[in-house]
């Protein structure tokens, strides 16, 4: 077979689909807004039955449902739609694990716009139009929308960092929604949490902490993690989804500051999307580097070996990692010297 006849045998479909994959992001967002998964879970399984529940045209519902079926988020049999296991658990509003709110952050125009020129991001090795300026409003949107995405990982992480009943002073750095600190407080009634973040973001952490019943057991420190005084005497410092925003040297500087705030033998607890050494697996860890390329000047998705080296370079002991499955993240633990 000649080169030419071989190339003519190739279907451009996959490239076509990838170049229009923004449709998938926005279709899934639209389906969440229309409560499509909730309606199907409640028994409306045809376009004709779903349409009036969404105040929508039957044709529009049919096109959306078929589109999501091709992508595996719905099933279709004899014209009746059903939910895939993950959409049933995570996108039905009546499910305890409902996480539909995350669409507002992931598909926020500010976030989409960061990727308008990926060639320039690649040339620069990072974003000039980034999200790390003081009080950037996108982090309020993040804190408001993304809590359900991290509820599972935060509740698992909490079990690894303190012992219930044992007093613990816990610093939650760049706390965002506050879920990681809140779950430590829920797991351990003797824990006191100090949330640090921009003041506009702390409003969300405070509201969540109050709503989740830990009033009286938390304080806040507002400002940049790089500039505020953390204080001292912490048993635990949480660094959830934070180090990926910065380069290696910046993280070493921050971790030295964290070490100084911990008691001797205190624990640094890092939560990260972590790629394997090949950097192309597992998908969630590996793909995360593109989010950092698009939204930070020099952030990255770091391997366990790189995080371990950051910790050692900052004076911590060797680190250990824990899976937070089913969440696609890792918990990395290291102690300051005793």
């Amino acid at each position: 077979m000649s080169v030419e006849s071989k190339t003519s045998q190739l279907n451009p479909g996959r490239i076509h689909q990838a170049l229009t994959s923004y449709q998938l992001a926005m279709a899934l967002k639209g389906a969440i807004e229309l409560e499509l998964f909730t309606h199907i879970a409640a028994g409306a399984t045809t376009a004709a039955a779903i349409a009036p529940l969404c105040q929508a045209k039957e044709k529009g519902v049919r096109v959306l449902c078929d589109y999501l079926t091709v992508h595996g988020f719905l099933t279709k049999s004899e014209g009746a739609y059903g939910l895939a296991p993950d959409t049933a658990a995570l996108l039905d509003k009546n499910s305890p694990a409902y996480m539909g709110s995350v669409a507002a952050f992931f598909t926020h125009p500010v976030m989409i716009n960061k990727y308008r020129d990926v060639a320039t991001l690649v040339r620069n090795g990072g974003a000039t139009d980034h999200t790390l300026a003081p009080n950037d409003g996108i982090w309020v949107e993040f804190a408001r929308s993304m809590a359900p995405m991290f509820a599972s990982s935060a509740s698992i992480a909490a079990t690894h960092v303190t012992t219930p009943g044992q007093p613990a002073k816990v610093l939650d750095i760049a706390a965002g929604h506050g879920l990681f600190g809140i779950h430590v407080a829920l797991h351990n009634p003797a824990a006191e949490i100090i949330f640090q973040d921009w003041d506009n973001v702390l409003d969300v952490a405070r509201a969540n902490a109050t709503a989740m019943g830990i009033d009286g057991r938390f304080q806040t420190i507002s400002g940049s993690a790089f500039e505020v005084d953390f204080g001292t005497g912490y048993d635990v410092a949480l660094l959830p989804n934070f180090l990926h925003h910065f380069d290696f040297a910046t993280n070493v500087g921050l971790l030295k500051k964290v070490r100084a705030a911990l008691k001797p033998g205190g624990l640094a607890a890092i939560v990260e999307f972590v790629p394997n050494e090949d950097r192309v697996s597992p998908p969630d860890g590996a793909l995360f580097a593109m989010r950092m390329l698009g939204t930070t000047p020099s952030g990255d998705a770091y391997t366990l070996a790189e995080i371990d080296r950051m910790l050692r370079d900052s004076g911590f002991s060797a680190s250990e990692s824990r899976s937070l499955a089913p969440a696609p993240q890792q918990l990395i633990l290291a102690r300051s010297p005793s």
Copy 2:
């Protein structure tokens, strides 16, 4: 296992990836602009080797290449990247089937913006902010960018509609880039082509026709297919990628006009993305309905049965379909009564 523990076992990764899939569209566009696939095909297989060829930072190239590897457009082994079969054939500039230009249409801000509010598209059953206004500039972009996407299907379709050496007057309706008519002329030296489209789009068809060597064998009719006088006496009327923009009744009206322009026994030749009766397979045919929902008031991806019914309702004979594989489209042929 209780409902709650079962749901807690679910990984939000797939939903996370889908809601950020605009990154895939823009990353693939960026890679095409950087000529990444061309550099890898030419032997630069590491981020360090590729970076200077793109005037890019090594880190940016690494992140982009890893991201495209996770999505299967590149391979990676021992730090060296390679091309998947389709990207080697279709995205290396030195390949005869190079189609990188399609990124400019698929990821055009106008096209992306059509999907900013899919819930409203579904409620309306179509787009209010559509692409069907007279002389909409997006069709010039389409005609300029998309020719390589249809080169294969146009060359195959041409073999089904006329016989080389046998004189044929061929109307190419909404010709766009003109590829379908041009390939008929290339296949059959006795064919004369009449391209019809908006005048701004015809400039592209004229340029392509001249560049591909059919000067003196074509004419043009400028204006809307619904308003212009096609003339009469055609042996063949091509309708490539056009019917999907309109509803069933509008298409029947247009096909009656086409029938009147054809000689008795003349051939209507329709090219379409066609879903199966289940409307969720094959992927390219099924997903196409979302493109129409987002960009037209009442267009759709029609099944073979629906297109056959349109043709019969317009006075044509029963239709036959031909695969245009590897292109993911169908050619539907029907004759006017003798």
